[in-house]
Symmetry: C2
Subunit: 232 residues, 2 copies
DNA sequence: CTGCTTGCGATCGTATACGATTTCGCCGCG
DNA sequence: CGCGGCGAAATCGTATACGATCGCAAGCAG
């Protein structure tokens, strides 16, 4: 009965293709073409693209057209930094609501992450990584914060290939940090301590990436207040 | 030459009316009616409303229509909590980039806030309050975070009447807290200290509101992890 | 009187049509 | 050979049209 609206359908269509990499950043979204593939008219497609634009996944230029958002490096760093903050907060806020069951599941996922490392399966690793944090956020009392976290993840997913795998050794540290966060949660540590641990879990990744890139590619990707936000 | 697109025009039209209170929360947005007032067709109006929906200012129900978002109390609290986090972070991130000139202007605005209190001008007070924080964020190196702050402010503005004025005495405390934040910035305090000060500046308002409401209206607006996020 | 059904008006959702704008290749000129 | 202008094709932006859906009120049965 209640079939989803065509604009919703178009939204999902495009969104799926962005998510799974068929539409790479920079890919030109031509209204008529997408409308043709979907067998709908251009109006719903325009709405869908507008929505994607508001979410930051797509850029839209008047009379020119839309394309999958190109994330510049500094943009990427800013998103990482923002993520570190909202993820840290979300973890701390969720802490009081996490049951032993959640922690058990999280540990189990983390174990699988460790194993995926031994199997050299980076794709599986990043997938499990998302799952891990998703478990921690399941009981987050503030859906707003959660929304911000998801926005950040979407953004990140668009560059999935420039994630962990690019910094040798970082993944293993990541697993260890997960362990530490779980320990803090388990013993009901101070929320601030949890927040900072979760935050630096992400900023450590960021810093590792910066260091790695500085050594291997550009001399300086651009100074950022990232490290200043790290807080010891 | 390059007149703004009609959908942009419609967006601004609606947005203005929401901002200045002509469209109150719950106000029903009828496509044809708005299109008529603007002398455009419904298609651009739909796009505008979709965008407002993505920004959270408007809710849209299929085959029923759009209305200015009704913010429930818990929603409000969540937004405040989120704001406390992102504002705190934004303040800390901006700290290294603030020149004495900025601090001077901020102090001056804060003084005017104090005076507006003596004149019993709450509208002016809230206006200056935004200005104050805007100055602190002028040099924020992370536009992402800033964007989140602005989103939060938009949300808040929709309930402007339930802000400071409802908690007697809170405004004066707020001025004092501004002073304290400025002091921390001036002496180049630890970023974490600045962040927590800015954060608790907002959560203090939240807590004051909750306490006030608990005493005067409802027994319990609903428990929230707010105080847990406050962090001493 | 109450509750369910039915029909109508209001409004939404989308297709189609067409003018407006941009892009890009082609041509002539320097 | 390069470059500036011109024209056609591609694409966008919006108006209009019309079917689809919802809400509400009137009518009918119990």
């Amino acid at each position: 009965m209640n079939v989803e609206s065509k604009s919703q359908q178009a939204y999902r269509f495009i969104r799926d293709r962005i998510d799974d990499g068929r539409y790479v950043p920079g890919y030109r979204l031509v209204l008529g073409q997408i409308a043709g593939e979907l067998e709908v008219s251009v109006v719903p497609v325009r709405e869908a693209i507008r929505r994607l634009e508001a979410e930051g996944l797509v850029t839209f230029e008047r009379n020119v057209g839309a394309q999958v958002a190109l994330i510049k490096e500094t943009e990427y760093l800013h998103t990482m930094q923002t993520l570190s903050i909202v993820e840290g907060a979300a973890t701390a806020l969720s802490a009081p609501y996490l049951m032993p069951e959640h922690l058990r599941r999280a540990r189990e996922i983390n174990e699988r992450m460790r194993r995926s490392l031994d199997d050299f399966d980076p794709h599986r690793f990043t997938e499990l990584n998302l799952e891990f944090h998703a478990v921690l956020f399941e009981e987050c009392p503030n859906p707003h914060i959660l929304d911000l976290v998801h926005r950040g993840w979407n953004r990140m997913r668009m560059l999935r290939d420039s994630s962990f795998s690019f910094v040798p050794g970082r993944a293993r540290e990541s697993v260890a940090e997960h362990e530490r966060i779980l320990d803090l949660l388990e013993r009901g540590a101070d929320p601030l301590e949890i927040e900072l641990a979760a935050r630096s879990h992400r900023t450590a990744t960021l810093d590792a990436m910066l260091a790695y890139q500085a050594k291997h590619k550009h001399p300086h990707p651009e100074p950022l207040a990232a490290t200043e936000s790290r807080m010891p």
